[in-house]
């Protein structure tokens, strides 16, 4: 599970390319190099990882998703999205002391 505290940020060098006609986006992770396909909810979580903490992320997700997702589903989608993105090294969480934690979850 992703960290309960800290702020989430995208990993450096990430490339995001929307593929609107397929309702998805492609993400290139340079270190180590790998290409991913994200569905809409994972994509939205990734977009919102701009130094926000968990509560701010939930609020931002709810703000963008609006009535597309029920309030009950927002938390679950954000949590799952963070876990998936963290596991693949697309985001990192910085601790209260500013230390960065990545895919290993350490």
């Amino acid at each position: 599970m992703s960290s309960r505290t800290g702020c989430f940020s995208r990993s450096p060098g990430l490339r995001i390319r929307p593929v609107a006609e397929l309702q998805t986006c492609l993400v290139y992770r340079p270190h180590p190099p790998k290409l991913f396909r994200l569905n809409g909810s994972a994509w939205l979580v990734l977009e919102l990882c701009e130094g926000l903490d968990r509560a701010q992320l939930m609020a931002a997700y709810r703000g963008v998703a609006g009535n597309h997702v029920s309030a009950a589903d927002v938390a679950g989608q954000v949590e799952q999205g963070l876990d998936l993105l963290m596991r693949e090294g697309m985001i990192a969480v910085s601790g209260p002391d500013g230390s960065a934690r990545g895919r290993s979850g350490t």
Binding site: F36, L38, E47, H68, L84
Partner: protein, 211 residues
């Protein structure tokens, strides 16, 4: 560098009806293909793991794998395998080829599905006279609309075809069989949108079966 505009694209898609499902992140496996020109790849040198390569090699008829050193002229070959078992040219009295396309977002699902489908089908299919002959990606074809994949079956005769039909598509009263369920799953991966490639071809050996 972050592409700021991508969030705007996503917001537009949401306003146009994009549904936010459970988050999903899939690794993209490159599929090198352009029209009827698809790069031929030796399965033994593909992206598959070593274990998967061994399993794939085990599915190919002996002598049909590019990694085999058998060129057909080796006199000692008879010591390696029974010649009559491995050197039969014909697939069966009837061979059927189903052509289909798969949408890009289902390519990974197809690869995952075929991995166990091929083993399962061979293991589970006990009906005499019916053989699953594999699913192939078309790497070159003059037919533009016949599908980029082909699944091939062979049958010993018309009765075997009837048995296959009743197994894969049983009457409602019979319920659905395991074979029917997984075959239905394979069909579900086919792209059925208008304009997508599809075909069905039935073959019989030219010699001896046609008047």
């Amino acid at each position: 560098m972050i592409d700021i505009k991508s969030l705007e694209v996503l917001k537009t898609m949401l306003s146009e009806g994009l549904v936010l499902d459970v988050p999903r992140v899939d690794a993209v496996v490159p599929v090198i293909r352009s029209g009827d020109q698809m790069l031929f790849r030796n399965p033994g040198k593909s992206w598959l793991s070593q274990d998967q390569k061994e399993r794939l090699k085990g599915r190919l008829d002996a002598g049909s794998n590019a990694d085999d050193d058998d060129d057909g002229d080796d006199e000692d070959d008879t010591a390696k395998r029974p010649r009559n078992v491995t050197r039969r040219a014909l697939l069966g009295q009837v061979a059927v080829e189903f052509g289909f396309d798969v949408m890009d977002e289902n390519q990974a699902d197809l690869a995952y599905f075929l991995d166990w489908y091929e083993d399962y089908t061979v293991a589970a299919l006990r009906a005499p006279g019916i053989r699953y002959r594999g699913t192939y990606a078309v790497y070159a074809s003059s037919e533009k609309t016949a599908g980029k994949y082909r699944t091939v079956w062979s049958f010993r005769g018309p009765q075997a075809i009837d048995r296959m039909t009743s197994a894969a598509e049983p009457t409602p009263a019979m319920g659905i069989t395991d074979l029917g369920a997984i075959t239905k799953r394979l069909r579900a991966l086919a792209d059925t949108r208008p304009g997508s490639g599809r075909s069905q071809s039935w073959y019989q050996p030219a010699w001896g079966f046609r008047s």
